[in-house]
Every structure is written in structure tokens, then in C-alpha cells.
């Protein structure tokens, strides 16, 4: 489990589609979501679970982080999903309909039990919690802090807005509240914050604007539902030349000050403290992932 890996994009792959499961990595997303939940009709839950289990067993995923969106444990399908999927030790499960810390605790306990039964180090499989209701939104801090398996918080825009009675708009102001809650809870817990999907796969300009907006808010990435959305989100999560230039100078000043044991660092007359250094590191990591970081760091 790599808690801090790059998760600019998380691509949903329906657990019913063998062709897409086989090619899940080809599209270049940082993380793939093999979906057993909303992307699978009830009549196909059994077959999708078996198909995804076989994909995890036999397809050599190497580049992307591999996660599985299981059904919630409160549904008739959740326990079977855990029983079939956890023994294959994907990087993480995406836990939908997370309403409280109890949901994470229950999943964590079941995952530990299955890991031990299968000779897997307990804690190997991470959890990305997805909150989709007003109650879940209220409890995000507890959800984020409940388990060391927790690596990121995510929210479901459609379900959440339906639950609070908001109308979905292109502008997305109705998501301001949940986005702020996700960011703050994630930062307090030291986990990543991942934004929800942008539903219109034909509006790539709108997707870029939204992805850029959420990056500037502090999100670490965004879920996508179509391969064509991946390069657009990656572009939005690529820092500007000015950002990269400043980050490089911050890191150079930090290294220089560290080498002479200086406690206070200044750059252009501005004090450089730990948050500024951390932000610079994040900017450079994003730039490196985007392949726009030639030369020294």
C-alpha cells in the first residue's frame, strides 16, 4: 500500500466488461477502479465478482494502482465481494456509502480476518472511503481517522447532492460544501482527497475547468468515467511553469539552508516554512509525473 502515490486520475472500469478489464492500464490513468458496485446490474453481481477476481489473478497489472469498488457491507453483495477480492490483495478497495466510522471499522475488521486467513500481512489492502450522503459528509473526520488503511477520501457527487436535495449544475456550486469537508478531513487525517466524476464526457473544456478548480482547492485527483477524460485531468493537474519555477527555487533555498544548519529560510524576502516546502514538493511531484520536469530538481 503506497499511501502517497500519485492519484491524479482514477478510471472506473465496469466489472462486467472483460475487454476493458484486460486493457484497464492502457489508458494511462494513475489508478484504476474495477467496479462491482453501481456499474454492475444486480443480475450480474455474481458474474462480475468472479470476472474481477480472475482479472486480478491473471492480468499482470503493473503501472497503475489497482483498486476495486466493492458493494457496501450493508448490501447483500458486500461480504461476498470482500471474500473474493481481498485474497487477491489489490492495492485498495473503494468503500462506497461510507456513513460513519463504524462502516470503516467493520470493513477493516473483515479485511484483517480475510488477510490473516490467506497469509497476507494485515493492513496490506488499503481503503479509499466514498461518502455519498449528508450523514457521511458530517462524519468525514471520523471516517478518515478510523483506520490506518485509509489512504484517501472521495465523495459521490450524484448521490450526495440527491441526498441533500441539491440540483446538479454544470457550475457545481452545490458541491462547494462537500468538497470543503473532504479537503479538511483529509488534511487532518493526513490522507489524500479525491474529487468525484465529471459526467459529461463530451465537454472536455468543462472537465478541464473543473479539474483545475479542484486542484487549486487542494484535491489530489479526480475520478474519471471515460479514457478520453484522462489526459485532460492530467493536464489540469500539471503545474504551470511559474509554479514549477518557484517550487524549484524553494527547494534549492531549503537545501542550501539545511546544509548550513540554518533554521530560518528566506526567498525573495519571504520566509519559507514547512508548509511552503511541502507545497513545493507536491508541485514538483506533479510536474515530474507529467513529464515536464527536465534537469535537476
Amino acid at each position: 500500500m503506497n499511501r502517497r502515490r500519485l492519484r491524479r486520475t482514477s478510471l472506473y472500469i465496469p466489472g462486467t466488461n472483460p475487454g476493458m478489464l484486460a486493457n484497464a492500464e492502457v489508458y494511462g490513468a494513475d489508478s484504476v477502479i474495477l467496479d462491482l458496485e453501481d456499474g454492475v446490474p444486480v443480475s450480474e453481481k455474481d458474474a462480475a465478482r468472479i470476472l474481477v477476481r480472475n482479472a486480478l489473478q491473471h492480468i499482470p497489472y503493473r503501472r497503475a494502482e489497482v483498486t476495486v469498488r466493492v458493494n457496501a457491507l450493508s448490501t447483500p453483495f458486500g461480504r461476498d465481494d470482500f471474500r473474493e477480492i481481498i485474497p487477491l490483495a489489490p492495492d485498495a478497495v473503494r468503500l462506497p456509502k461510507c456513513e460513519s466510522a463504524d462502516d470503516v471499522r467493520e470493513a477493516d475488521a473483515m479485511m484483517t480476518e480475510i488477510e490473516l486467513e490467506n497469509g497476507i500481512e494485515p493492513g496490506t489492502v488499503g481503503i479509499i472511503a466514498i461518502t455519498e450522503s449528508a450523514r457521511g459528509g458530517r462524519n468525514l473526520s471520523e471516517i478518515a481517522a478510523e483506520s490506518p488503511r485509509l489512504i484517501a477520501l472521495n465523495y459521490g457527487a450524484e448521490d450526495y447532492t440527491a441526498d441533500i436535495g441539491a440540483v446538479r449544475t454544470k457550475e457545481g456550486r452545490e458541491l462547494d460544501d462537500i468538497r470543503a469537508k473532504v479537503i479538511v478531513a483529509a488534511r487532518i487525517a493526513g490522507v489524500q482527497a479525491l474529487d468525484s466524476v465529471f459526467g459529461d464526457v463530451n465537454d472536455l473544456d468543462g472537465l478541464y475547468a473543473e479539474a483545475l478548480r479542484v486542484r487549486l482547492l487542494g484535491f489530489d485527483g479526480k475520478s474519471v468515467i471515460h479514457p478520453r477524460q484522462i489526459p485532460v485531468v492530467h493536464r489540469a493537474f500539471t503545474p504551470s511553469d511559474q509554479e514549477v519555477g518557484f517550487a524549484r527555487r524553494v527547494m534549492a533555498a531549503f537545501r542550501e539552508a539545511s546544509s548550513r544548519g540554518a533554521g530560518v529560510i528566506a526567498l525573495d524576502g519571504r520566509m519559507i516554512d514547512a508548509p511552503v516546502v511541502a507545497r513545493a514538493e507536491k508541485i514538483l511531484a506533479l510536474a515530474e509525473a507529467a513529464g515536464c520536469l527536465p534537469g535537476e530538481r
Binding site: A47, I50, N54, I59
Partner: protein
Amino acid sequence: MQDQRIGVAGSLESCDVLVMVILSAESRGMTLEIDSPSLASFGEEMKNTVMEIMETLGIPHAVIKVQDRGALDCTLRARTEAAAKRALAVPAGEKVSE
């Protein structure tokens, strides 16, 4: 025919395979029909995969029909297992298609 229990899984979409498993009190041994564009090259491997899954599930007698659309071996494994489990789940005397 009344004692047949039928399970079907998969599809005829590209990269998938449609597998039908028929369990019947009258069946003796395995009868396997494979329709695949790669039958000449991979027919024997496909047969071995299906037989391995049936053996794992403890099914000694069945009629199995496989319509392949270029599926990977892991997809054939999954669809065979799902079809067989669906057939096993049908109460005796009933028939289910999917």
C-alpha cells in the same frame, strides 16, 4: 428435459465468451461444444480450462456450450465458473437462462 438445470454467463461482445452449462440427471461425463475463431490454435487449451473449472467445482457430468468472441483465458475461466455456479443454484426441476 424437465430435470435440466441451466446456467448461462458472459456475452457475445468482443473479448467475451458466452458459456452455457446444462446439468441433467441423464448426463454421463462431459460433453463440450466450442465455437471460437481461434479453435484451431487454442481449442485444446480452452477445453482444458473448462474441464479444470468443472473439476474444481466438483461437477462430473454436464453439457457445456462455449461461444467465444476472442476472450482471454481468464475470461473463459470466469464465465465458465459463473455459468456452472448459476446452474448449480437452480433448484432441481427449474430452468434459468441467466
